[in-house]
Amino acid sequence: MAKELRLMKGNEAIAEAAIRAGADGYFGYPITPQSEVLEYLMAQKPYERTGMVVLQAESEVAAINMVYGGAACGKKVMTSSSSPGISLKQEGISYMAGAELPCLILNVVRGGPGLGTIQPSQSDYNQSVKGGGHGDYKLVVLAPASVQEMYDFVEKGFALSFKYRTPCLVLADGIIGQMMEKVELSDEKPRWTQEEVIKNSPWATTGKTANRERNIITSLNLESSVQEEHNIHLQKKYKKMEEDVMCEELNCDDAEYLFVAFGSASRICQKAMDVARAKGIKVGLVRPITLSPFPNKILRKYADKVKGMLSVEMNAGQMVEDIRLATQFRTKVEHFGRMGGIIPTPSEVVQALEQKIIGG
């Protein structure tokens, strides 16, 4: 069969992917620049065809708690929002991490703090990879750099999320959400039957039958010793996640310098890399695809090979800290970024490389 190609916005691609991945439910609340996710799903009406539930909740808080309720039933459920809305969801995300519930959360990041701007930003990096809500926890965090990846990361994200029983956050931004690119669509997969749900998630609240104990979904442990045991279990799980690190390395073999960038900043760096190489600067690009787990080993490998790394981020310098930890200060690591919804230009990036790394 010929592959199905479509020109889609990132926000539309993730919605279409949800239907085709056999998602059971989407619960959202409008906020720029991601409202197209809910709009697209409502226009497609998957509830009439696949039975996928699509609901506009009364708030981001309600939406994430609907996701909690659905996930606790073993269903493939998701939500999406943008920065201020994701802040509101943090309590629910923390509860889901504590109760070990899988789900998919999309953050189409806009500039902050506060109401900030509706323009693209990467200033929610720390919130995404360091937990975000209260308590010791980590999410699986995927950073798409194209509309195709927005599409592909739905199925990937659900798979990782169920594998580790922890929420998966797709960290996009206004560029990836609003931009249209060519997307190759996959065939539609049916939703899990109730038998499959019970088989895949025997822990889920599906109704207590005579042949099993009751299933309880909770994040509450009043006994400190029980809570600590739970914490140790979670930490082991987060450690194990490192086997699923994903990272793209471009032009790194002969590189004397590296750009390190994720998401749309990595696209700008690709252009900057071409510009720099045309000037004779041997620069490569390391693009973390999983921001959590972070590609520590890959960056450590390059720490002894290159003369310096420039972390290019659309924020005040957040991932740069993780790069410095990963490279153990064995090479020079600096940050270049723009804030407030300003997108750095490729020429600015090259200039920053020359000034902060090569000349600095």
């Binding site: 609003q178 249209m180 690119e181 700008i268 071409d274 490729p346």
Partner: protein
């Protein structure tokens, strides 16, 4: 081949949909494409612009500050983007409403009287397709039959009866485009 284009004008002129048709036409001939709009409150009646890139290779940055072609449809956009055309590049504009015409000497500058031509038609809604026709005359980066396929993909099925009108408008644009300097 890589062609980096900015299309800029008022919201409501069909800037975004023209870019979408162009991008879809690229897909129809197996190219990589990106379509990056300005978005936000300015969509509502203010200025709107979209960056469209068509390429035979993987597209790096969808956001760029220099363009092979600038298609300019109002004065604000002229003020903003005339300087962003690469030397040797193309600036195509509709002189309707333009008070300060472009002055650069190192680029190709063409005009298309799209608003005027569109007003002559029965529907009066083919402005952006006339502009697209003018562009494709100057830079035939996508084949006409791929544009028609792109139109079919971008328009909802209920509007497919409008495809002949759009095709005529593209042809009209090809006829009326003229060199400015």
């Amino acid at each position: 081949m890589t062609e980096e284009i900015i299309i800029a004008g008022f919201g409501g002129q069909g800037v975004l949909s023209m870019g979408k048709i162009l991008a879809y036409s690229g897909i129809m001939q197996d190219q990589e494409v990106s379509w990056m709009p300005s978005y936000g409150p300015e969509m509502r009646g203010g200025t709107a612009n979209v960056t469209v890139i068509l390429s035979d290779e993987r597209i790096s940055s969808p956001v760029i500050n220099e363009f092979d072609t600038a298609i300019i449809l109002n004065q604000q956009s002229m003020d903003k983007f005339e300087k962003s055309v690469k030397p040797g590049g193309l600036l195509l504009y509709d002189p309707n409403g333009i008070t300060k015409h472009p002055t650069r000497k190192d680029i190709q500058i063409y005009q298309v009287e799209a608003a005027e031509e569109s007003a002559k038609t029965e529907s009066g809604k083919t402005f952006n397709m006339i502009v697209l026709g003018a562009f494709l005359k100057l830079k035939p980066i996508v084949k006409m039959d791929n544009v028609i396929k792109g139109l079919k993909k971008s328009l909802p099925t209920r509007h497919h009866n409008l495809i002949p009108i759009n095709e005529q408008a593209i042809t009209k644009g090809m006829e009326v485009v003229k060199k400015y300097s």
